[in-house]
Structures are given as structure tokens and as C-alpha cells.
């Protein structure tokens, strides 16, 4: 899978997160803002890297603004943003 444009999903509401992914030329650039960054910043990063690895995404720039979202919320927002960014339109 390849990131060819910008995709974004989520909200800034409590227990949610908003994720923006866009193309990159230098591998993975991951920028995390989180209300629980101190406790879970590394965990969120691992979650995202693991997701990209599984999808075979190498070049991507990601920005997540997390308001205390649980893992599966983060993953579904991530999936949605990535689908938009890879040019997938149907069903979104």
C-alpha cells in the first residue's frame, strides 16, 4: 500500500484521536501529541509502526492528536486515514 495524498480521520473529542497521514520521501515520520503521551506515547508509536509494517507502508508522514483514545479507536482512525490517503474512495 502506498500513501499518495493526504487523509484524515477522527475528532478532537475526549477518548478519540485525530490522525492525518500524508506522503513522505524519507521513510516514516511520526509525530505524536497526546494527553497521555508520557504514559502511552511509546505504545501509540509501536501501534502505528506495526500497522504500517503490516500494510507494507514505508514512506509516510503521520500526525496524531490523541485525546486518550483506546487502541482500537486509534487503529480504526488510522485505517480510515490511510485508506483515504491511498486513494481508496468507496464506502468512506
Amino acid at each position: 500500500m502506498e500513501i499518495i495524498n493526504t487523509g484524515q480521520a477522527g475528532t478532537v473529542e475526549s477518548s478519540d484521536c485525530i490522525i492525518t497521514v500524508s506522503p513522505s520521501e524519507n521513510g516514516m515520520e511520526i509525530n505524536i501529541e497526546s494527553t497521555v503521551k508520557l504514559q502511552f506515547g511509546d505504545h501509540i508509536r509501536d501501534l502505528i509502526i506495526d500497522f504500517f509494517n503490516k500494510k507494507g507502508i514505508v514512506n509516510v508522514s503521520l500526525f496524531i492528536n490523541d485525546r486518550g483514545a483506546l487502541d482500537y479507536v486509534i487503529l480504526s482512525r488510522l485505517e480510515s486515514a490511510v485508506l483515504q490517503a491511498s486513494g481508496y474512495k468507496e464506502g468512506l
Binding site: 475528532t11 478532537v12 473529542e13 475526549s14 478519540d16 501529541e33 508522514s61 500526525f63 492528536n65 485525546r67
Partner: protein, 349 residues
């Protein structure tokens, strides 16, 4: 649909507008006419309990009634406005608000860029930030940054001998001159054309670097009055915000110690802007150098004169006002539609 079951709808009539203005005034916010979209949240008695507006990627007029502030309505409103802006292709957002309201947005992940005391605060959020934006621009430009340089901000609608004179004047006195061309596309000449004409017209000046201004220099996010052409207290606040951003980010990142500007005898908004520069730059130890405008047969050269001559098809006059590079463009087929557009409207910038 919101989770509280409140009525939620777009602003639709004069009555709504009057109510909204009253509502916003209690948060030190002013309703501005440059708005694409406004959402209202109403209680059972049809009174506004929360509201927010959008102009392109700029969120403004966001407020929630005190009695409902624990309900996370502000999170909801911001999310809603972001999703509306996103549908239009924006992934980077500004919030223009009052100092009173600014804190609640920081909590949502927005970062403060600048504030004009007691008046206005600008925050941003998204896949770009001001520090990165100008740092990347700086890295891409191979200049010797160890020596202090100077900055100039221009609109160049289009590039004239007057602009050329100002830039050349600075380039002879400074080690390095960075020219920033306003990116906002509200002028007659589109941004790409204005940028190209400045680049072409200053090519021979080895120490001059021409850059796009980005969304942070005299943009409609920061300085709507410049484009609305209004002249009031708000104009000065916005002008100050703009000058602060230029000084605190652009001048710092590019190592610039002076800003050169042309004297402004005609335009009230621009002369108000020059006043803001004087008040903001000097305390920061930056120089402001105001150059009298270049004249030709007793009249200052102004881009508005070029536009006037274009409307009148007076190419003899134009040839006396603009450099060869601009003249060549104005005579090209590419310029035809711009000139047509010009003939159909009257505007100051």
C-alpha cells in the same frame, strides 16, 4: 447529530445573525463577515448555547455558553468545523480567537502562534506548523545565514519599478535580502504569477532571495482587515499580530535584523500596518527602514496605477512603470485573462 440532543443547524437569517453577534460579544469575540459557514447549537428555547464559524481553514467565532462549558461542546464544535474544512481539502487549521478563549483550544492540541495583548490570539493545528514551514524554506535556500540580513514583504500586483527600486535599494545596503511574496490569492494577479514576476525582475540581484509568503504573512487568517479593507481598532490588532509573527518566526529563523518597507501615502490600511511595524519591531531590537517611494514625473509608482493603465490599454504608461520582465508578461497571451478580469472590477490590492 450531537450526543446531547440539542438542535444544531447552520446560521440562516438576519435574526440568527443578530443573536449570534450578541452571544459572541460576551466572549470578546466579534462576528466577521468573511465567513463561509456558521454552525449554531440551540437550547429548547431556541437560544444559542454554542457557535462556531469557518472561513476556509480558519476557525473563528467559537464560543460556548458558561452553563454548558463542562459538556465538551467546544470539542464537538472544533471537530465539526475541522471535518467541514477537511471536506474542502484543508488539513491545516487556524483558530482566531480572544485571549479569554485561547486556553480551551490549547487543551485540544492547538498551538499558539502569536497574540496581540487584550485583543486576539492565533493558534494552529495540523500537518504543518510555522516553525517547520519556515525552517524547511530556509534549508532549501542556499544563503550564508551567519551574517544578518533584511526582509521585505510584497504583494506586487503586479511587480513594478517601485518594487524593484525598494528591493535593489535594500540589496545594495544589506548582505542578504529575503523577499516574501504574499500567498493569499485575493489579488488580481494570481500568486504564481506575482511570484514569478518578482523572481524574474530581481534575477540579476545576487543577494536577493524570493520566497512564497506562506499562510503566515499577511494572510486572511491573521489579517482579514487587509483584505476586507476595513479601518478600525481591529485592523491595528491584526496588523500587530502579523508583525509579531514576522519578527518572532521569519526574522528569527532567517536571521534578519531589518525590515524594509515602502512609504505608504495612499492606502490607510497599509499605513496603519506601517505604524504597527514601528511599534512592534523596535522594542525587539529590529530595524524598520521606510523608503520614500520611487517617483516618475512627480507621481509615485504604484501597482494600482499599472492596473489602471491596463484597464485603459495604455501600454506607453505601463512601460514607464514596470520593468522589462513585467512588461513582457503583460503583453503575453497569458496575461489576457487577467487583464479582462481587471477590467471587470475595481479593487485596491
Amino acid at each position: 447529530m450531537n450526543p446531547w440532543g440539542f438542535t444544531e443547524r447552520e446560521l440562516k437569517n438576519e435574526e440568527d445573525l443578530e443573536k449570534l453577534k450578541v452571544f459572541l460579544s460576551s466572549f470578546d469575540l466579534v462576528y466577521e463577515d468573511s465567513v463561509d459557514y456558521t454552525i449554531l447549537i440551540l437550547d429548547n428555547e431556541n437560544e444559542i448555547i454554542a457557535a462556531g464559524s469557518l472561513f476556509r481553514n480558519i476557525l473563528k467565532g467559537l464560543a460556548v455558553n458558561q452553563d454548558y462549558q463542562g459538556d465538551q461542546l467546544i470539542d464537538y464544535l472544533v471537530s465539526h468545523l475541522i471535518s467541514v474544512a477537511k471536506e474542502k481539502g484543508y488539513y491545516h487549521y487556524f483558530i482566531f480567537t480572544s485571549p479569554q478563549m485561547a486556553e480551551s483550544f490549547k487543551y485540544l492540541g492547538f498551538n499558539e502562534i502569536a497574540r496581540a495583548e487584550q485583543m486576539a490570539v492565533l493558534l494552529e493545528y495540523g500537518n504543518q506548523n510555522i516553525e517547520n514551514y519556515y525552517s524547511i524554506m530556509k534549508e532549501k535556500t542556499s544563503a550564508d545565514y551567519s551574517l544578518e540580513g533584511a526582509g521585505i514583504v510584497v504583494n506586487c500586483n503586479p511587480f513594478t519599478n517601485g518594487h524593484r527600486y525598494l528591493i535593489e535599494y535594500a540589496s545594495q545596503r544589506e548582505k542578504r535580502v529575503h523577499v516574501f511574496v504574499l500567498e493569499e490569492d485575493l489579488s488580481t494577479f494570481p500568486f504564481e504569477t506575482r511570484l514569478m514576476l518578482v523572481r524574474e525582475g530581481t534575477k540579476d540581484l545576487g543577494n536577493v532571495f524570493v520566497h512564497p509568503g506562506g499562510s503566515y504573512i499577511i494572510s486572511s487568517a491573521i489579517f482579514p482587515a487587509y483584505f476586507l479593507k476595513t479601518e478600525d481598532a481591529k485592523t491595528l490588532a491584526q496588523a500587530k499580530l502579523d508583525v509579531k509573527i514576522f519578527a518572532n518566526y521569519v526574522m528569527r529563523i532567517f536571521n534578519l535584523s531589518a525590515r524594509y518597507v515602502g512609504e505608504e501615502p495612499y492606502c490607510m490600511v497599509t499605513s496603519c500596518y506601517n505604524k504597527a511595524m514601528m511599534e512592534e519591531l523596535l522594542p525587539l531590537g529590529k530595524k524598520l527602514i521606510i523608503i520614500p517611494r520611487k517617483q516618475i514625473s512627480g507621481e509615485v509608482i504604484s501597482a494600482s496605477h499599472v492596473r489602471k493603465a491596463l484597464r485603459e490599454n495604455d501600454f506607453t504608461k505601463i512601460a514607464s512603470l514596470v520593468p522589462e520582465t513585467t512588461l513582457k508578461f503583460l503583453k503575453s497571451a497569458e496575461a489576457k485573462y487577467i487583464i479582462e478580469k481587471l477590467k471587470n472590477k475595481e479593487s485596491r490590492h
